[in-house]
Symmetry: C2
């Protein structure tokens, strides 16, 4: 499992064996079954998660108990309620398995230790954060400029593998429309 993490990090920064041993020692492996929660709204958020295998949804539930999909996460993605993790406040979202899932967990303390101990890892996280911001900005632009049908088509183009694995009702909750509206748009 840690080998996958190494390949993932080395796409951005090369590591010696000793450096990877140091990095690897900060992560713990966890396995979850479909429907299990990695983060629960209202609870503290212990970890940032690197997805080794499986599929997750990051969910915001509004005052009317309606579920909104903030994000999906699959292999090679990082996911958490990052605000709650980073500011050590309680989760306002939940992170839930859509499939059996294996993750590598990193506590905030270990995230800090990694950045302090190895500048390459600070570089790695900076690159991930910059591209995370750009992904979110792209979604905002798509929302400003496109109708639901166009946003759905963009999503299919951008993440074809994801669309195969996620139920239509959740795609609708990600796009901010009802299941019925999405059905009318489906090719």
């Amino acid at each position: 499992m840690h080998q996958k993490l190494r390949e993932h990090i080395e796409k951005i920064v090369p590591l010696t064996d000793d450096e990877f041993k140091f990095v690897s020692s900060h992560f713990t492996t966890k396995k979850f079954r479909k429907h299990q929660f990695l983060v629960q709204e209202g609870e503290p958020v212990k970890y940032h998660h690197f997805v080794v295998s499986g599929l997750l949804k990051l969910v915001y539930t509004d005052d009317n108990s309606r579920e909104h999909i903030v994000s999906f996460a699959m292999e090679d993605w990082w996911e958490s309620d990052f605000y709650a993790y980073y500011t050590q406040t309680k989760a306002t979202m939940s992170l839930v398995c859509l499939e059996d899932t294996e993750v590598l967990c990193l506590s905030l303390e270990d995230y800090r230790k990694l950045c302090d101990g190895l500048q390459k890892m600070e570089r790695f996280f900076l690159e991930k954060a910059n591209f995370g911001f750009l992904g979110a900005q792209r979604r905002i632009i798509s929302w400003l400029t496109s109708n639901v049908k166009e946003r759905y088509e963009q999503l299919i183009r951008q993440y074809p593998a994801l669309i195969q694995r996620v139920p239509k009702s959740l795609i609708a909750a990600y796009l901010g429309v009802s299941r019925e509206t999405l059905s009318r748009l489906s090719p």
Copy 2:
């Protein structure tokens, strides 16, 4: 002007005088008049900009020549077409002054040199990138969960100073509605 940058950076990482001298040497000062472009769609993007004074809009223009506001930027904010800057591709957005504006400019080469030369600056940019991501995620959540009226009220609460300085037609273009719709919602 550089003193403002120092105060801004020191909210996240403390710097010695020598360190700040090193940091400061990577920035150049530029002044622009209202209506001038710092970034022009279709052109290369030379700089990331730290706003010392003034107000800017980051604009995406769609195929029907309709302007969408991706972001505003005022004092203490960083702004650019960051994707084009970071990947050294041509701008897909424009960055335009809404007021006379002073900025400190940082080229990508100097951004890399700063991060390589002083780990504290890599830490600083990592913090800014993480909070930039979280700001974008909050806007996405607001879009998923709230109607236009609620989004407008959230914007007023979050950036009261901004609302005073920006024409209503641009607030509408930021919220993704027409000027007429926004007028009906205004208190």
